[in-house]
Assembly symmetry: D3
Homo-oligomer: 69 residues x 6
Amino acid sequence: MPYVNVKITPENATPENKAKLISGVTNLLVDVLGKNPASTVVVIDVVETEDWGLGGLPVEEFRKKRSSA
Amino acid sequence: MPYVNVKITPENATPENKAKLISGVTNLLVDVLGKNPASTVVVIDVVETEDWGLGGLPVEEFRKKRSSA
Amino acid sequence: MPYVNVKITPENATPENKAKLISGVTNLLVDVLGKNPASTVVVIDVVETEDWGLGGLPVEEFRKKRSSA
Amino acid sequence: MPYVNVKITPENATPENKAKLISGVTNLLVDVLGKNPASTVVVIDVVETEDWGLGGLPVEEFRKKRSSA
Amino acid sequence: MPYVNVKITPENATPENKAKLISGVTNLLVDVLGKNPASTVVVIDVVETEDWGLGGLPVEEFRKKRSSA
Amino acid sequence: MPYVNVKITPENATPENKAKLISGVTNLLVDVLGKNPASTVVVIDVVETEDWGLGGLPVEEFRKKRSSA
């Protein structure tokens, strides 16, 4: 019965990897809390990098700045 | 003044049906809680099926597995 | 299979009214989109008025200001 | 370490303005709460107008109705 | 840099189990997507059973009905 | 008409500081995007430190580990 929302930027967000996230999160909730997998909902949001901010910057700029530091 | 977020997969998510969800949810909050419709916000997220997990599987696979059981 | 999150301030948020919101939202999704009620999840968040802002003010102050206008 | 989610309709949601929102929200959390900008996450969701309801109507219709009132 | 929100009802939601969820989700994102754990944020919301609806009912009633079926 | 959700841990989360966050976020949306403050909603969630994970650890442990590094 849990609900899990995963927000990630698009790198490596293939259907295969999304399926791994869904099964991995569901198994974790079964193992740790004894939840019923049949009513465990996982929603993945792929967020464009211009919509993701870190350190006060869009994440692409944050990465450039950090790697050039 | 309430805020409601509705997450659904794309089946039947036409503009007409979205408008029905918006009016239906708003009327419900007015009727049950006496809320002011003018400040009731409804946000609908249409989530692709590869991004929705149920029973540890992407929902398309979950449906196939269930219907073949 | 939908997921609905309802955020409201505490006025009238009794268990009875919450149950009405849960059944009302679920019925709406069944009627408008043909969703399966058994996998429709509704989560209600009761948000304290000091944590809810409208018009740039905590909602209690917003209400006072409006009613005295 | 805060997490901020900003949901807006598409008007004026250019990359430049999104960058201003990200820096503005981050600076606010630094100034008011003393948060560390390096672990402050901001996620912006641009929501299509047919998916945004206000006053029981999709927001485009709400605006038309109000401007014609 | 991912953000994960986990919503659960209170059963077994001890600090120890929450710590296991946090480490498990973070490891999963590192393993599947190569994310940086230092900027992976996990927020757990414990939701009271009267605020969680399933099958059109508050979840306590849903469980009673199912177990008596 | 925007909706903003701010999630923070409890340090310094006084009513006065929450009011500053509400006005600051609202002003930012007015200044950057020309939004109407009267329909700008801000919801603040104060999240207990045991419910907030960073670097794979509950945030209290993450802070201890970092400060002793």
